[in-house]
C-alpha cells in the first residue's frame, strides 16, 4: 500500500525486475548515450525495439510506458514545431507567409521527437522496474570507486534512501493535518487567494515542525545504534551479478554494435540529410 506513493515502481516479478540494479543503471546510461550518438532512423528504430522488448520482458503495460510521456507532451510539441519550421533543408512542401514546410524539416522534427520519446521511456524503464531502495543501493555501489577521491558515496546514498523512506510518512502526515485543519474550517480548495494562503500556512507550519521532529528522532535513533557512516559496514542484501546480468549486458553491447555499424555503413552510403 505504502509503495504506491513511492516513485513509479511497478511491482511485478519479471526477469528485468530481477536484474542487478547496477546492470540496469549502466544499461540505461549506455542506452541514452547510444540514442544521442545515433544519427539515423534505422539506429533509432533499433533503440525503439530495444525499449519495447525490455518493457515486454519487464511486464510493463504499454499504457504505463505512455504515461511516462505525459510530463513531456509540451516539450515534445515545442521541439517538433521548432524543428519543423527552423530546419529549411530539402524540398519545400508547403508555404504560408514566412513559414516553410520542408521535407528535411519534417524528417528532422520526427527524428528529434522520436529521440526524446525514447530517452524518456528508456529512463522510465529503470524507474518502473527498480525500486527506489534498489536504485540507491546500486548507485552507492557504482559510486564506491569515487570514495578514493573522498567523494561521500555512502552518505549520499544514505541521504537518498532516508529521503525516499520519508515520502510516504510525510504524505500521510500531510493528509492528517489537512483533515484536522479542514475540520477547523480551513479551506484549501476555494475562497480568496488570501484565505487560501492562510490555509496553506496552517498546513505547512505543522508539517515542517513534524519533519524536524522526525529528523531529530531518527538521528537520535541512529546514534543510539552506533551508526558511524559507511566504513566497515556490511549489508543485508549484498548485490551480486548473475548470469542474467551477463545476458542483459550482451544485449546492450549488441545494440551498441549495431548502431556503430549502422552509423559507419549508412553514413558512407547516403547523403547526410540529418545534419
Amino acid at each position: 500500500m505504502r509503495e504506491m506513493t513511492l516513485g513509479q515502481y511497478y511491482a511485478v516479478n519479471s526477469p528485468v525486475h530481477a536484474l542487478d540494479p547496477r546492470t540496469k543503471i549502466l544499461s540505461v546510461i549506455s542506452m541514452m548515450a547510444l540514442i544521442f550518438l545515433c544519427r539515423t532512423f534505422c539506429g533509432l528504430a533499433a533503440c525503439a525495439c530495444f525499449v519495447l522488448a525490455v518493457s515486454f520482458a519487464g511486464h510493463i503495460p504499454l499504457s504505463k510506458m505512455m504515461s511516462s510521456l505525459k510530463a513531456i507532451y509540451f516539450l515534445l510539441l515545442f521541439t517538433f514545431l521548432l524543428n519543423v519550421f527552423f530546419n529549411q533543408s530539402g524540398a519545400v512542401l508547403w508555404q504560408w507567409g514566412i513559414l516553410n514546410l520542408t521535407s528535411g524539416g519534417i524528417k528532422r522534427a520526427l527524428f528529434m521527437a522520436l529521440r526524446l520519446v525514447l530517452l524518456v521511456t528508456g529512463a522510465g524503464l529503470l524507474s518502473f522496474t527498480t525500486s527506489p531502495i534498489e536504485l540507491t543501493d546500486g548507485l552507492e555501489s557504482l559510486m564506491t570507486p569515487l570514495k578514493k577521491l573522498r567523494f561521500p558515496a555512502h552518505e549520499i546514498a544514505m541521504m537518498m534512501s532516508i529521503a525516499l523512506r520519508f515520502i510516504p510518512i510525510l504524505t500521510e502526515e500531510t493528509d492528517k493535518i489537512r483533515k484536522a485543519q479542514t475540520a477547523r474550517g480551513a479551506n484549501f480548495d476555494s475562497g480568496s487567494l488570501y484565505k487560501r494562503a492562510g490555509a496553506v500556512v496552517s498546513l505547512l507550519v505543522p508539517l515542517l515542525v513534524s519533519a524536524f521532529r522526525r529528523a531529530e528522532e531518527l538521528a537520535m535513533a541512529m546514534e543510539a545504534r552506533c551508526y558511524h557512516g559507511g566504513e566497515g559496514r556490511t549489508r543485508l542484501k549484498v548485490l551480486r551479478f548473475h548470469a542474467s546480468d551477463a545476458v542483459a549486458a550482451a544485449v546492450v553491447l549488441a545494440l551498441a554494435a549495431f548502431i556503430a555499424a549502422d552509423q559507419t555503413v549508412i553514413v558512407s552510403l547516403l547523403p547526410d540529410w540529418t545534419g
Binding site: M1, M4, K176, I177, K179, A180, Q181, T182, A183, R184, G185, A186, N187, V201, S202, V205, P206, V209, S210
Partner: protein, 282 residues
Amino acid sequence: MGISIQNLTHVYHPGSPFAVDAVHDVDLEISDGEYVCVIGHTGSGKSTLVQHLNGLLRATSADKMEIEGIDLLQKKPDWRALRRRVGMVFQYPEYQLFEQTVFDDIAFGPKNMGVEGDELTAAVRDSMRLVGLPEETEQMSPFELSGGQRRRAAIAGVLSMRPRVLVLDEPIAGLDPTGKQDILRVIDAYHSKTRATIIMISHNMDDIVSVAGRVIVMHEGRKVLDGSPEDVFSDPDRILALGLGLPTVSRIVREMNARGDHIPASVCRKEDLVRFLTEGRA
C-alpha cells in the same frame, strides 16, 4: 436533530487492486446530548466512521446521512455549517498547532467560521478557561507550552467553535495519568455545560465505563455491538473474541465468577460492584 445514518459504506481506493472496505453497512442513530464511545480493534473502521460525521470523508454509498439537520447526501451540503456544528479532535491534536500565539491558534477555527471581534475574543477566552489554560499563556507561542498544555490548547481550538457534536479520536493517547484525567474532565465539563453530543474513540475501557452512556463496538468495518456499557460488557467472551480488553471491574467479576461467585456479568463499574457486594451479600 442528532445524527441519523443508514447503510453507510466506505471503500478506500474503490476500483483499484488496493480497495479496502473500511466501513460496511453501518446504521447509526445518535440523539442530542448522548455521550457515545466507539471502540474496536485497529483497522476496525472506527476512525473512518467518525470522519464521515463532519464530511472529511464522503460515503461511498449510504441510504441516509443526516447530521445536525444537514443532509449530506445532497449534492453540495453546507460544509462550513456542518463543520461548525460538528467539531473534530484528531489523534495527537497538538501537532496541528501552527499560529504564533495560543490565542491566534484557538481563534483559527471560529475565525474561519466568520466569528469576529468581541465574540471571537469571548469564544477563545471561554474555551481556554474550559480546558484550564491560564490566561497568561494567551500570548505565548504554542511551542512554549508543555505537552499536556499543548493538547489542551489544541482541544480548545475545536471547542472555540462551540460545536454541538464533539468527535474525539483517542484524545488521551500518549498522556500521563494526570493529563488523561484532565482531558476527560474537560470533555465532561463541555458535555454537561453545553449538552453537546460527545462521540469519542477510545481504547481505555475503564474510562469508557466511567464516562460513556453508550458504547458502540466496531469490528472489521461493521457495527457489532451497540448499547449501554452494561449491555456491551455483559458478554465478556464476545468482547475478548473481538480482540478487545475488558474494564478492570469486568475482569474482577469474571475472575470471581470463575471461582464460584454469581455476580451478573453486566456489572462493569466500580460503584456497582461495591454496591452489589455490600448489599447483595448482607
